[in-house]
Chain length 312, copies 2
């Protein structure tokens, strides 16, 4: 495998700092117009869920997709937090005892462990709501048509036909609602569809959204969407490989859980070496998709490689 | 008290049927563009939460506020479902054992009783997401600036500084997070602020939003907002009176729970007769606010009266 250049890691870290600062600003104590008061315990739980780490991959993809079409700056960073807020809310709810029952996230207690379950449910709800607040706010983009389109695409990627629906399919595949607790194993196509919904949609979205924010042509938005679909699949395969191979220490969360749950993954279905080979093919396909943009697309291609090769 | 005219009840019921039909359409099996698949169990839980009854007061207020400024039709009905979807999601999550722990809603099992807690959490998440999908969709309004503004106001009314924050304050007031389980009772101003957030914001929102949808002047949007704040307070006082006086049968949910939980309400603080007198004053204030519109405002004034006098 070709390795992502060291300066990519530095660029990713610098961007994460910008995103972190914007998230901290969005989650400060001051009520916004139309808000009465931000209850301190709720706000603390939201900050716990969002601040203090994370690679901010989804915001990075949005920021770099906008940059590909010549747009950068604070507004794009602001817009990029919308997808991160949706991602963070989904982790808070998925970690609940009623769902995946995880105690650890990014090396820290999950929100329901650090606070309590009611607070975690409400903090997740408020983060999801804040994501749409950010997307619709004039401070995010001057053109209301772009803001409305951002909201619509974010909602479609996140809702019953996207991320939430994918989590539902995942619980079903674990045998949550079958009497014998072990339904028929998913096939290749079913696993790919489940993963495209559960994790793929929210990796594809920022790539399309970045192009939209920059006023790119419809064909460019579609191209970034195809790139995003490949990146989303690569992300999930890498995630499944990490669950098999990485230590809990490196991941900051429990590993080996997929096998313990009998969870259908492409890695479980086809084996580690076959999926490592598929990862290489996906990185090549992602690069080919953006070849039309020449060297301008180097950072996004490096991001695809980073996502496929990451160690945590 | 002056009673709302019988034809008001018929008009409310007809409007509820239109809203119900639109909600059923939004929750049909067919995936929308950008959605892969709508998982059947998730969709069934969402339909259980949303369809089959309810007065649809919030949509009615939005539809009538738009009509006051000369706009009506399918698009307004569609827009009005956004606020109902937020309302329904909040009931699903508030009914969870981790929150208010209710088994009955509109005379039927709550979502987590009819399905399970994981499904209820995800159905609530998906309903909230769908609300913003609807608000941002071009099918809802031709002008993207109106759609973006609708999303922004809906998010502000619903999030950490609005409805979700109000639910958080309510749990805190019940002593959820104090060692002795009974914190200092809330005073008049604190109760009013809590209720303005928890229930008031989502009754005020449709009145402002209806005016916005119709392209009303800023001063008219603000006037409808003031009317909405009064209506929101009247709604809550009537709700608290019903909790004291009505039967569980009439309400389709458990009653007498406020007192059992030592919950601070204005009725508990000031007594039943004082708050009945305040309700009369609020209806008069609501009428006065809309006097400038003459007979055109009759339906909205009748709605305020209905909300104050309702028996369930």
């Amino acid at each position: 495998m070709i390795t992502a250049p060291p300066r990519f890691a530095a660029h990713l870290a610098r961007t994460a700092d910008q995103v972190e600062a914007m998230l901290a600003h969005l989650l400060d104590d001051a009520p916004q117009p139309g808000e009465a008061l931000r209850p301190p315990r709720l706000l603390a739980a939201m900050r716990h869920a969002v601040l203090g780490g994370g690679k901010r991959l989804r915001p990075f993809l949005m920021i770099e997709a906008a940059r590909l079409f010549g747009v950068e700056g604070d507004r794009v960073v602001r817009a990029s937090t919308a997808v991160e807020l949706v991602h963070c809310y989904s982790l808070v709810h998925d970690d609940l005892p009623q769902m995946d029952d995880d105690d650890l996230r990014r090396g820290r207690p999950t929100v329901h462990r650090a606070f309590d379950e009611a607070t975690a449910i409400l903090a997740g709800d408020a983060l999801l709501t804040l994501a749409f607040d950010v997307a619709a706010d004039p401070a995010t983009h001057a053109d209301p048509a772009v803001r409305a389109e951002l909201v619509l695409r974010l909602a479609r990627a996140s809702g019953l036909g996207g991320m939430v629906g994918g989590q539902m399919l995942d619980l079903a595949a674990e045998g949550r609602w079958t009497a014998d607790r072990r339904p028929a194993a998913l096939g290749d196509a079913e696993i790919r569809r489940l993963q495209a919904m559960k994790t793929g949609a929210l990796l594809r979205l920022p790539l399309e959204a970045g192009a939209l924010l920059a006023g790119a042509a419809t064909s460019d938005v579609a191209r970034l969407g195809r790139f995003g679909a490949v990146v989303g699949l690569a992300f999930q395969i890498a995630d499944d490989l990490l669950d098999v191979e990485a230590s809990a220490e490196a991941m900051g969360k429990a590993t080996g859980k997929d096998a313990a749950r009998g969870k259908g993954t492409l890695v479980a279905l086809h084996g580690v070496s076959a999926m490592k080979a598929e990862l290489d093919r996906l990185v090549a396909a992602a690069s080919a998709e953006l070849a039309v943009y020449g060297t301008r697309a180097e950072t996004l291609i490096a991001a695809a490689r980073f996502i496929a090769e990451r160690k945590s």
